[in-house]
């Protein structure tokens, strides 16, 4: 069965090498889900987009490793 896991990570090649299946590229190593150069609101919006990307990945059936980096439509 397994537990579906979305890996939000800064270094996609490592994630691929170690065998993650649902991979979401993040912003940067010291702040994967944020950007200190942006305003707090903008930063949270970036974070939200990444987590939504992760939810989309978790909701998608895949047969092999997949990098979810396509922009997702915001509702």
């Amino acid at each position: 069965m397994g537990l579906p896991t979305a890996h939000i990570c800064s270094i996609v090649p490592i994630s691929k090498t170690v065998g993650a299946n649902r991979i979401i590229p993040s912003i940067a190593i010291p702040h994967p889900l944020g950007d200190p150069d942006k305003s707090p609101d903008e930063e949270k919006a970036i974070r939200r987009r990444l987590v939504e990307q992760a939810l989309a990945a978790l909701g998608t059936d895949i047969s092999d490793q997949h990098v979810f980096d396509e922009p997702i439509s915001s509702d």
Binding site: L3, T5, H7, N21, P30, P32, K44, L58, D61
Partner: protein, 355 residues
Amino acid sequence: MPEKIQTIHYVNQFFGGLGGEDQAGVAPQWYDGPKGPGQLIAGMAPDIEIIGTIVAGDNYMAENLDAAVAEIVGLIEAKRTVAADFKPKLLLAGPAFNAGRYGMACAAVCQAVQARLGIHAATALHEENPAVEIYRRPVTIVRASSDVMGMRDAATNMARVGLKLVAGAAIVPTEDNTISHGLRQNYFADAPGAQRAIDMLLRKVSGATPETEYAMPVFGRVPPAPAVKNMAQATLALVTSGGIVPRGNPDRIESANASKFGAYSLQGLDRLSGETHQSVHGGYDPTYANEDPNRVLPLDVMRDLEREGRIGKLSETYYATVGNATSVERAQRYGQNIAAELVNVGVQAVILTST
């Protein structure tokens, strides 16, 4: 003529000549001299004197391994006290090839006699024997074929490696055909690294296959888990290798080569803050994560999504370790343990963040 090395040989009921499955329940017994494969070893390795053979049934060993191994240790100790010239320096177990129960017994006996009696020990197993994964670190395991067809090679090499152990010589897995203990060992090389690298490159350019000095770990692959069907009713959990822990690092998770993971409550928290949480990861500049730990563990967004009904709920415990120079073996173990705990509390999907 140099003195022969007193050696004890361990075999199961089958190789000990007692019988098949009908004899698998027999308790460990001592027989003077070599039996079965021990006769082969004695014939091929003139430096070895097999002073006795311990025979035990596969089921007897498998059903209560610790107690059965202790019995064998006791058997050897008892021999020691009654005979002054009883001075075994080596124990050889098997070969057990790919036999599961037998392999476990061989490896466990080796581990016990070297740890408790100070006797060198070696066994011979096929690389897929389940005992290999469990005992490869403490026990010297010679590579064997999957079945008894490879008896001669395995027994010969096991005896040779055993003698090297007694002599205090280094065992080199690639040369001695043993299974690596998974430990790095320092040694003096003939040439500096730069020169060896150039040599390796030249060999490659000339069309030969250079042999690596440091094999990369093999990473397991798992088939992707099926998708979450109904996110609005699912319980999700947050896990991170980015070292986000409650302020003060209550479990003292190391900033590199972490020896543990932590499980921490999110109850009553709407977001993380620099006052409540911090990064203890030693592999990146923690300034931004300490300022706002949501940049690594996105609790604020998860709470929003929970409130909006986009997800069913967020599990009230998150898991954290430091993924900095952490060995694959450890990381795998943490992953398995964390997954087991998450499944136990009904988590259906995970968001794992890495720096």
